[in-house]
Symmetry: C2
Subunit: 349 residues, 2 copies
């Protein structure tokens, strides 16, 4: 954390593009049955049989999505994969392959890029996903990572954002807001470090929320658990931009309204105490924080008994008719219209 760049440096130009790709991918193995041909030709070849293929892609830009002052490259590689797998799980699918493209400026050494790929590889191993291709090029400034994830799903199991029906329950996995708050802690420590480089950051008190920011896990386990419980959500989305933004996506695509109950939003105790320390409202953080990579979904009321006592799930509201609008019901029983204030990388500031 907050440490300087690697000591030994190998210039990337010594290897060249093809050498670099070969070097970085030599330890990746092919594990998925559907991977017919991985890296090494013009395109990868996938075999899907009677399943549907899922495709999703995300772009992470240095200075916009991450700050290498506190984001170790290995974590960054891991997280970049998670961000994409999360979208596949949000379709109720199984992630099977990824392609990874990076643009890197020449301030990065080979060892730095290796760290990044070590994180990517760890993610591939932990989630049983094959790296099957990509592109590696130079950038004028900074690091940029573009990942495309491919998954598969049986036709009858795919879950879209548009299937929520009035009276369905609104459910979320895990807890919310911690990743955003972890970022606030890291930003503060960075400023302390910049003011006095001899200050050692003490992050023990914030271990959970910092880990939620630096090493999020995509909820493959939730997809499996729902299958075990024989619950097929009527709609599903992953929480990357903040709860309110995601709820509004489901409402608009399903053409429904909803009531979300403030007192039902799952928050971690460390997140609550850190909110108090930073003097921020914890509900606002959960609604707009983003980067939680939990799954938000709706289920039919008849499935409620199947998830009722399960600690992985929180029922946070219910779906209403479109004409009723989308509202937050506060602890004080006030009805406040939900507005998406999630993260927007295109804003001018």
């Amino acid at each position: 954390m907050l440490k300087g760049k690697s000591e030994k440096k190998t210039s990337l130009s010594e290897l060249g593009e093809f050498g670099l790709i070969k070097h970085l991918t030599k330890h990746f193995t092919i594990n998925c049955e559907s991977t017919e041909k991985g890296i090494g030709d013009d395109a990868a070849v996938l075999e899907f049989g009677d399943k549907q293929a899922l495709i999703t892609t995300d772009l992470l830009v240095e200075g916009v999505h991450f700050d290498l002052a506190y984001m170790p490259l290995k974590h960054l590689g891991y997280k970049a994969v998670m961000v994409n797998l999360s979208d596949v799980y949000a379709m109720n699918g199984a992630a099977t392959q990824i392609t990874v493209s990076i643009a890197i400026s020449n301030r990065f050494s080979l060892e730095a890029v290796e760290e990044l790929y070590a994180g990517i590889q760890l993610a591939c191993n932990n989630y049983n996903v094959d790296l099957i291709g990509g592109d590696t090029t130079s950038s004028v400034t900074g690091l940029l990572i573009s990942i495309t994830a491919i998954g598969e799903v049986n036709k009858e199991e795919v879950v879209y954002r548009n299937g929520a029906k009035p009276n369905d329950l609104l459910v979320v996995s895990g807890d919310l807001g911690s990743a955003y708050l972890g970022l606030q802690v890291l930003e503060r420590e960075k400023q302390v470090f910049e003011a006095n480089p001899n200050m050692q950051p003490d992050l023990d008190t914030y271990s959970y929320i910092v880990e939620r920011q630096l090493k999020p896990e995509a909820r493959r386990d939730i997809v499996s658990l729902l299958k075990e419980l024989k619950v097929k959500p009527t709609s599903m989305i992953d929480i990357s931009d903040g709860l309110s933004s995601e709820i509004l996506h489901i409402c608009s695509q399903s053409e429904v309204g909803c009531n979300l109950y403030e007192d039902k939003i799952p928050l971690d105790p460390q997140m609550i105490s850190t909110c108090e320390e930073f003097n921020i409202d914890s509900t606002t953080v959960a609604l707009s924080g983003g980067e939680d990579y939990e799954l938000l979904f709706t289920i039919s009321q008849e499935d409620f008994p199947k998830i009722q006592s399960n600690p992985n799930f929180s029922v946070i509201g219910h779906v209403t008719d479109k004409s009723e609008g989308a509202y937050l019901i506060t602890r004080g029983n006030q009805k406040v219209e939900l507005i998406a204030q999630g993260w927007n990388s295109l804003k001018d500031d």
Copy 2:
């Protein structure tokens, strides 16, 4: 050409990320049967039946792969798609879908991004490809485009780089080196323009080679033609980095050698005369120039009569045993070892 930025400007932040995606993709239609669900959910859903899916991805970075001083944004969008489709065709497949991710700095207006997407859409229409997803984010500097293309191919029709056998013929479509030379012309005109902004560039003499650089076409027609002629190449690759680099990829993956004949390399007359003007060796340009997006493939000798008189193809050499190495046979009948001197974005200069 060489014109300034758009006059009327709409700030991207007014629209926000979701608004921008919606705005840019509203005119894209779904045409491919395999596109079950396009933009608008966590992932796109593709239906492949008994076909194999092909996946390929490329990253284009401003200042590395393109210069907006002479590359109009619409052309850039078109070319970015071509670069990817070319890889699908090089597998003997049909391109069916693309995802487009862009990182843009706030010096770009909405109108500029619309121009880029107009080029992407034209490419989608011309090549019958569906845009099914992507990511749009800000960048600290410059423009970056990451495209992933998806294609399909019957299992028995896929062509890899590794199937070339000794005595096979080495064949190339179209002509080579023009795209590189077009770039040299554009670079020269840019310098003239920078020295004196009142100088109007006269590019008529160079129309073909400039178009090869600015608006290349991926060779879908060659894949169809080979099918018509009942020729299945034993190996195939697209020429993005220069002929010699691509030949060496086929040789190394097929574990073979080859003899390439200098006098057989197809060159356009405008390319030859411009080489003379620039005092560059035309063979060197064809071997190392890159960005031609022609197809290089090997065929069994028995298929030779099928392509012999076809103006779309040039037989430029033959495959030999691995032990014989990879050589260029010059016009003077000298044997020179082939070395990949193709474009390398990672080199230090």
